[in-house]
Amino acid sequence: MTTQANAVREMDDPNAAALARYRNNFLREVEERVEEGEWVKMCMQCGVCAGSCPFGAHWEHSPQKLFMMIRAGQRDAVLRSDAMFMCTSCYNCVVRCPRQLPITHIIHGLASYAHRLGIAPKGQPTREFATLFWNNFARKGRVNELKLTLAHYFKDGIVAGIKTGLAMKAVGLGLLKAKRLNPVEIVGGHALKDLKGFHAIIAKAREIEDRKQGISGK
């Protein structure tokens, strides 16, 4: 490919651009672009985080492993791992880490960076739910619980949605009866007065962060 073609490709593909910029230095990439990434090199590989995770039985890579893989330059294996999406944000690892590293945030940061680069695992359920959640509250400034639940149930199509909906019917009716679910939220729901300002803040923050992470704000 010509230099010019490469340049075009990198503009369209933030992952290619990051690869070109950092080459084999994935640790530096993480330090510069991932939330709290500058702490990764402080990990002393004790493994307490791995043993403290409530979803430890379900991931392939513990935080301890991920941190070593980052230092070993295993960029693809880290950014395409679904391990980060198993984080429940319980903060067990953070309070037990003998070096007090912000492990939860680094894990969140890695997941978010991979997601923004477009290379996080497709169809990963927590990745999908997390995106639904953000988009749900970002619309009106507050969470619309009914729409969030329905969007989640129907993410795999109408049939799957109706099936899940029916399976969870008792729960829904119970919440309705207890006045903890509002059927009217389907048409409106709670919203901010200064929605325009709220959206402008998110847009501006996103623009700055995209610039810092080398992701063009498309």
């Binding site: 999406f85 429940t88 944000s89 309070v95 997390a130 619980e145 729960v171 903890r180 709220f198 962060e209």
Partner: protein, 302 residues
């Protein structure tokens, strides 16, 4: 008792007819007894919750939390921001700490806020309602209004994650925080101090996206409460409350258990013990009715 005032950050789940509206009801009753005035931060927005990290990234999350701070500074100057939701409190405290520690992030956050004509001066203090109760009042003060001690009721104090880690309540341990047990005892209930799932994660937002994995956590939390002889679980967190209460019927259906363990908020216990009605305590908002507590609420005061 002098009236205390706070800038209130109720959060999405505590809104009218939302999943933790019974929490809000009981907090309102509790504060009435304590002569606490909560003024909602005008036009507050969602904190982004923990699961917002993926799509939200860092700066957008910090910026939306700082929007609430800026609104509080402008409209309720000098008042501590008080959150009742664990995630709101955590999201806000993390934002404050992150911005206090980095002038770069502070600058960028204010650049984002300027898009809505706002500015954050870094003057706010973020607190959880539990901190207000313990630090601004104290257990002795909380005991004074008790007219219906919750005698003979056994509670498993389920603290969960985010009111406990990474910040927690000052002076408490992460592995075995005692404040919830102490609150139970303050209002005359029996706290099962040996309850071993006190700080276990309920799965959080992953109860939605990874139901099987989360329901395993929830099963442990409920089962251990039964094993220790609990009649009810009490918690300070709206997501813990919802997950642990709502999914019991699912676990029963799939795994043949017969769980029917009521899951209450600390504020509901205080409200009933202080003489509030079942309605004042939001007990009509339970999916699994807390019959024993309803009976105490219906009794005449001692």
């Amino acid at each position: 008792m002098a009236k205390k005032e706070y800038a209130f950050y109720p959060g999405c789940s505590s809104q009218l007819k939302a999943s933790a509206s019974n929490y809000l009801t009981s907090v309102g009753s509790m504060c009435k007894t304590l002569d606490v005035k909560l003024t909602e931060i005008p036009d507050w927005n969602c904190c982004g919750a923990s699961v917002g990290y993926c799509e939200g990234g860092e700066l957008p999350r910090l910026a939306i939390n700082a929007r609430n701070f800026a609104l509080a500074e402008t409209h309720l100057p000098g008042q501590d921001i008080v959150a009742t939701c664990a995630a709101c409190w955590l999201g806000a405290r993390e934002t404050k700490d992150r911005l206090d520690a980095s002038s770069q992030l502070m600058k960028e956050t204010n650049e984002a806020l300027a898009a809505a004509g706002l500015h954050y001066k870094a003057e706010v203090n973020i607190r959880h309602m539990v901190e207000v109760l313990i630090e601004d009042f104290g257990y002795e003060q909380l005991k004074k209004p008790v007219v219906k001690p919750l005698e003979g009721v056994k509670f498993a104090g389920y603290v969960g994650c985010q009111t406990n880690r990474p910040f927690g309540i000052d002076g408490e341990s992460f592995e075995n925080p005692m404040y919830l047990d102490k609150m139970v005892e303050t209002v005359g209930g029996e706290a099962l101090t040996k309850y071993d799932q006190k700080v276990t994660c309920c799965g959080g937002a992953l109860a939605f996206s990874e139901p099987e994995k989360s329901q395993k956590q929830i099963r442990d939390i409920v089962e251990s409460a039964y094993d220790h002889g609990a009649e009810m679980i009490v918690t300070p967190c709206p997501l813990c409350q919802a997950n642990v209460e709502v999914y019991q019927s699912e676990i029963n259906k799939k795994q043949g258990t017969k769980f029917a363990m009521p899951v209450l908020y600390y504020s509901q216990l205080l409200t009933v013990a202080w003489g509030g009605s079942a309605k004042d305590a939001g007990l009509d908002g339970q999916l699994i009715r807390a019959t024993k507590l309803e009976e105490i609420a219906a009794k005449s005061a001692k």
